[in-house]
Structures are given as structure tokens and as C-alpha cells.
């Protein structure tokens, strides 16, 4: 018995030894580098030529909140997030609802609904720039032409070139890409509900509508939460989509794009680091409670 135990102990130590390289890598490249970035954000490294680097406290952060461009990018991000979250949630949910009971050819629908997740936004940016083209009426192409053809010509607009509506337009390709993912999550949710629940309600004489409303939908609230968290943190980081469609344009500026410009175009590392820390903060307030929740449910099982 003693030898078995000591062998188990050595195996456990051995296990730790095998994971150690990854622990070190994550410690340095994730946590160490976040700490480094935070440190940079507290210094005066506001250009590549600063020689006398010193700490300036939270000066870079207070300056950011007085920076018109930063406030504009933050506002854009919030506008985008609102439309993207609601749009993707609703369309993904509808897709799942339509497929949930099973239809002939389900596999084909499902596969096509999900393919956008396999393509990069740098590639799809080319075609979305066309689809979201601002020319109208006689010269119209893209979605404006589609709207005309289906008799909704009055909805034609400037899409991502419109100063006020640009970020709402940007949410369209994002919804296009992520809806299939949300569908998959909801479909898993629907199909994880035991059939007995549905049958029992049916036996009790509940209408189909009531079964969905009072039996099935409440069962999906954990899925709903997951979807919100996933979409929320993706939205905070949106970058490729913006670059792929409109590049570094002012009307569609968001935090990730502004950070890139500040850091690499004008080498203001301290300011870039501050923006990066703000994106991290926005992601963390969404993700950390979720990770704790996942950890808790896992332990209970």
C-alpha cells in the first residue's frame, strides 16, 4: 500500500512537471505581459524617442477620457455592441427555433448557416464593402439594389459611410458571421431538454405556443447567458471586421483599431497600452464572472 501511495504521489508530481512548461509560458506571456502593458500605461513613453522613462501615474488614462477620438471610438463600440448582440441573438435563436424539431435537409441548412465562421473577415471585407455600398437608385449595387428589388427601396442608405449609422451598418456583417454559431449553441440547448418535459405538457393539454413559452424557453436561460458572454467579449475586441471593410476610417473607429494606430503608426506606447488595458477591463468584467460560474458548476458535477 505504501509503495502504491508513494508511486501515486510521484506520478502527481510528475504530472505537474509535464504541465510546468505551459504554466511558465502562460505566466510569462499572458499574466506577465499584461502586467508589463499595465506598467507601460503608467509611464511617459508617449513616443519612440522618449529617453527618460518615468512613471506618471494614471495620467494617460485621464487624458484618454478627455480625448475626443477615444470617446468617439468607445461610443462606436457601444453602438456596435448593442446592435450586434441583439441582432445575432435574435437571428441565431430564430434559426435554432426553425430547425429545432428537425426538418428534411436540416444538415444542409445547418452547414450553410455555419460556414461564415470558417472565413476570415479580411477576406469577406472585400465583398461586404460592395454589399454595403452607398450608391443608390439607378447606380445602386449590393444591399441597396437588393432592397430596391424586393420593394423596400426606401430603406436604401449609406451604410458604413454614413456618419451616424456607420456602426449599425458594421453590425450587419458581424451578425451574418456569428448567427450560425449562436444557432448551434441554442440547438444544443433545445436538444438537451428531455422529451418527457414536452410530452408531459402536451398530455396536460398545453398548446404548442404555451409549451415553448413556459416549458422550453425557461430551460434555455443558461444557453442565453453563454451566448451573451461569448458575443459580448468578441464584440469588445472587434478588429478584423472593421479593418477588412472600412480600414482605419474615423466614422468606424473602435478601441482595438485606435489602439493599433496609436501604438504602431505614431508609436505612442503609453497611450496604446492604456487603451489595451481598457479593452482588457471591458472583457474581464464580462468573462471573469462567467469563468467562476463555469468552475462552480463543474465542481458540483
Amino acid at each position: 500500500m505504501a509503495t502504491v501511495q508513494s508511486k501515486q504521489l510521484s506520478a502527481r508530481v510528475g504530472g505537474f512537471f509535464f504541465v510546468l512548461p505551459s504554466i511558465i509560458a502562460i505566466a510569462i506571456f499572458v499574466y506577465g505581459m499584461i502586467a508589463y502593458t499595465f506598467n507601460v500605461s503608467l509611464t511617459n513613453r508617449n513616443s519612440a524617442s522618449v529617453k527618460d522613462i518615468k512613471h506618471v501615474g494614471f495620467k494617460n488614462y485621464t487624458e484618454l477620457f478627455a480625448d475626443e477620438r477615444f470617446i468617439h471610438a468607445l461610443g462606436n463600440l457601444l453602438k456596435f455592441t448593442g446592435v450586434f448582440l441583439v441582432g445575432t441573438l435574435v437571428s441565431g435563436f430564430i434559426m435554432a427555433l426553425l430547425l429545432e424539431k428537425g426538418v428534411a435537409g436540416e444538415g444542409i441548412f445547418r452547414s450553410f448557416y455555419l460556414y461564415p465562421m470558417a472565413i476570415s473577415f479580411i477576406a469577406m471585407g472585400t465583398v461586404w464593402r460592395w454589399l454595403l455600398n452607398s450608391s443608390r437608385d439607378g447606380d445602386a449595387g449590393g444591399l441597396n439594389l437588393v432592397l430596391q428589388k424586393i420593394g423596400l427601396g426606401f430603406l436604401q442608405n449609406d451604410w458604413y459611410l454614413s456618419p451616424r449609422g456607420a456602426m449599425y451598418a458594421m453590425a450587419v456583417p458581424a451578425i451574418w458571421q456569428m448567427s450560425g454559431y449562436v444557432m448551434a449553441l441554442f440547438l444544443a440547448g433545445f436538444r438537451g431538454i428531455p422529451d418527457d418535459l414536452r410530452e408531459a405538457a402536451r398530455v396536460d393539454g398545453a398548446s404548442e405556443f404555451k409549451i415553448y413559452r413556459h416549458v422550453l424557453f425557461p430551460q434555455l436561460s443558461p444557453t442565453f447567458l453563454t451566448v451573451l458572454i461569448i458575443l459580448g467579449h468578441i464584440s469588445m475586441k472587434v478588429f478584423d471586421l472593421i479593418i477588412g471593410i472600412s480600414g482605419k476610417s474615423y466614422v468606424t473607429d473602435v478601441l482595438a483599431v485606435y489602439m493599433w494606430q496609436v501604438t504602431f503608426d505614431i508609436t505612442n506606447f503609453a497611450k496604446g497600452a492604456s487603451i489595451a488595458m481598457i479593452i482588457l477591463f471591458l472583457v474581464a468584467i464580462v468573462v471573469i464572472p462567467y469563468l467562476r460560474h463555469v468552475n462552480k458548476t463543474e465542481r458540483e458535477n
Binding site: 506520478a11 504530472g15 499584461i34 479580411i122 454559431y181 438537451g192 480600414g247 497600452a273 468573462v287
Partner: protein
């Protein structure tokens, strides 16, 4: 992989109703569902349809107002032009993506094995700290990472991308393998242990041969995300044309100054997407599994 979430998605559990005659209302809803599904299908396909039809219209045959129309003849001009631009970057991407995916899968497998079958004190905390790394915005590590690359002499080499994708791939790869190994009964490990097999021997003799599905999931996940990655590529290889990968080369081509070459741009976009689309077409199931792992849901 809890009770196989992908199976749950792909197999409808609804009772088959075919034998029963559908009532009028039920028939109406069925037709309504098919019409809705088809309209959504058309909307989802639209962008890729535009890319495909315009890629055969030649260098100067692509116009905004006819973008939805089928080509009159099949013209491959833009394919050869796009190939000239993308062949080298795509080759380079394939090379680095293959390397980073294989290394990531091996690391993930070992981590997953230990964290599911040979837990040590604090292993759960370690796993949670790993997971957070999966969600961080990479802007928060980009400045020190470029300095690190410079300090170790990696700048100017494609290995900056191998390093980035391997290191920042550790969380998701570990997660996928850990969940997969959790579904292998502990008794198998116990039996090996009673026979006096060591941890490494059990891994090689029992676990590794069972791991092929998880390897496929991780390999294609890492392949797709590294192939489609733009953020690391633009930050770490900067403006260097000799390190251009598929996404950065494409971005230089289609970026605002080159927008006049519509046909070539569209074809290049399609061409750069072909590898990941092929993976999706043939291994979609495994791709879906990777995708769902990213939501910590299976």
C-alpha cells in the same frame, strides 16, 4: 466532451411524424418553416455567391450594378492574377500554420491528460488561469510581445507567428483535450496503474491511441484560427512584405488604394478562403466541436 454535444446538435430527438397525417395548421407551419429557412439560406449565401460569380468575370468585367449576375463566359484571368499575388504568402502561411498546429496539439494533449487524469494540488486553479488566457484581447500583450521577439532575435522571422499561435493556443488546446480525456473512464487508467505502468507509459499505450478525434479537433481549430488570423500577423510581422501571410497580403491588395481592381480583389479573397472552407466542408463536425469548446460548452 459532455455526452457529445455535437451529436446532440446533429441528431434531432423530435418524434418522427411522417406516418401521421398532418393537420392543416401543422402543414401551414411546416411550409412557413421551409420558406423562412430558405430565405435565411439565401441571405447567408449571398456574400460568398457574389465572390464566386465575380471571380469568373475577368479583370475588367466586374461592375457594381451587375455584381449579382452570373458571368456570361468563364474567364480565369483574375484567378491567375490573384495566384501571382497570393501564391507565396499562402505557401508561407501553410508552412507556419502546419507547424504551429502540430506543436499546439502535442502540448494540449499532454496538458489535458495531466489535468484530467493526474490532477495535482492546485490543478483546477491552473486550468482556470489558463482559460482566462483564451479570452484576453491580444492588444493587452502586443507591446511586450514585440519587444520580447526583438530581444530573442525572432523579429523578421515567421517563427514570431508560430510562437504566438502556440503560446496563445495553449488554453483552448488544453481545454479540448481535457474535456475529451474526461470522457475516458478512470478505470482504464487504474487498470494500467495496477499493472505497474507509469504515467508516461499509460499515455503512450492507452491514451494516445484513443486521442485521434481530439487531435483532429485541435489541429483543424488551430489551423483555421491561425490561417484566418490578422491581428498577430499585422502586429508581429508589421509591414514586412517578405513575411506576408494570406490575410496581410490580402489586406494590402484589397486595402482602400487598390479598390479599382475589383475582379482581382474578389478572386483573391475567395482564393485565400479556400483552405479553411475545404476544411469546413470535409471536417465540419470537428470544426463545430472546436467552436463549441470555445464557449466552454462541451
Amino acid at each position: 466532451m459532455s455526452a457529445d454535444i455535437v451529436d446532440r446538435i446533429t441528431h434531432s430527438t423530435a418524434p418522427k411524424k411522417n406516418r401521421r397525417q398532418l393537420s392543416g395548421i401543422a402543414q401551414f407551419w411546416l411550409i412557413f418553416r421551409y420558406i423562412s429557412l430558405t430565405i435565411i439560406l439565401a441571405m447567408v449565401i449571398l456574400p460568398i455567391y457574389v465572390l464566386v460569380v465575380n471571380s469568373f468575370k475577368g479583370i475588367s468585367g466586374v461592375y457594381l450594378n451587375t455584381a449579382f449576375e452570373l458571368p456570361k463566359t468563364l474567364n480565369f484571368e483574375t484567378w491567375s492574377a490573384a495566384w501571382d499575388w497570393l501564391a507565396v504568402p499562402m505557401g508561407r502561411t501553410l508552412l507556419f500554420v502546419t507547424q504551429s498546429s502540430i506543436i499546439s496539439a502535442l502540448i494540449g494533449s499532454i496538458n489535458g491528460y495531466v489535468l484530467s487524469k493526474w490532477r495535482f494540488a492546485g490543478s483546477n486553479a491552473v486550468f482556470m488561469l489558463f482559460l482566462f488566457g483564451m479570452f484576453i484581447p491580444y492588444q493587452a500583450i502586443m507591446i511586450p510581445l514585440t519587444q520580447f521577439n526583438k530581444a530573442v532575435g525572432l523579429t523578421g522571422s515567421i517563427y514570431v507567428l508560430v510562437l504566438a499561435h502556440v503560446v496563445y493556443g495553449i488554453p483552448i488546446c488544453t481545454l479540448i483535450f481535457r474535456n475529451y480525456y474526461a470522457s475516458i473512464p478512470d478505470e482504464i487508467i487504474e487498470a494500467g496503474r495496477v499493472d505497474g505502468a507509469s504515467m508516461v507509459r499509460i499515455y503512450r499505450a492507452i491514451i494516445l491511441p484513443l486521442s485521434i478525434p481530439a487531435f483532429v479537433v485541435v489541429l483543424i481549430w488551430q489551423f483555421t484560427s491561425a490561417w484566418n488570423d490578422f491581428l498577430f500577423a499585422i502586429f508581429l510581422t508589421g509591414g514586412s512584405p517578405k513575411l506576408a501571410v494570406a490575410t496581410t497580403a490580402l489586406n494590402w491588395l484589397t486595402g482602400s488604394s487598390n479598390q479599382v481592381y475589383y475582379g482581382k480583389n474578389m478572386t483573391a479573397s475567395l482564393m485565400a478562403s479556400i483552405p479553411t472552407l475545404l476544411v469546413y466542408m470535409f471536417l465540419g463536425r470537428y470544426f463545430l466541436r472546436g467552436l463549441l469548446s470555445g464557449s466552454l460548452k462541451g
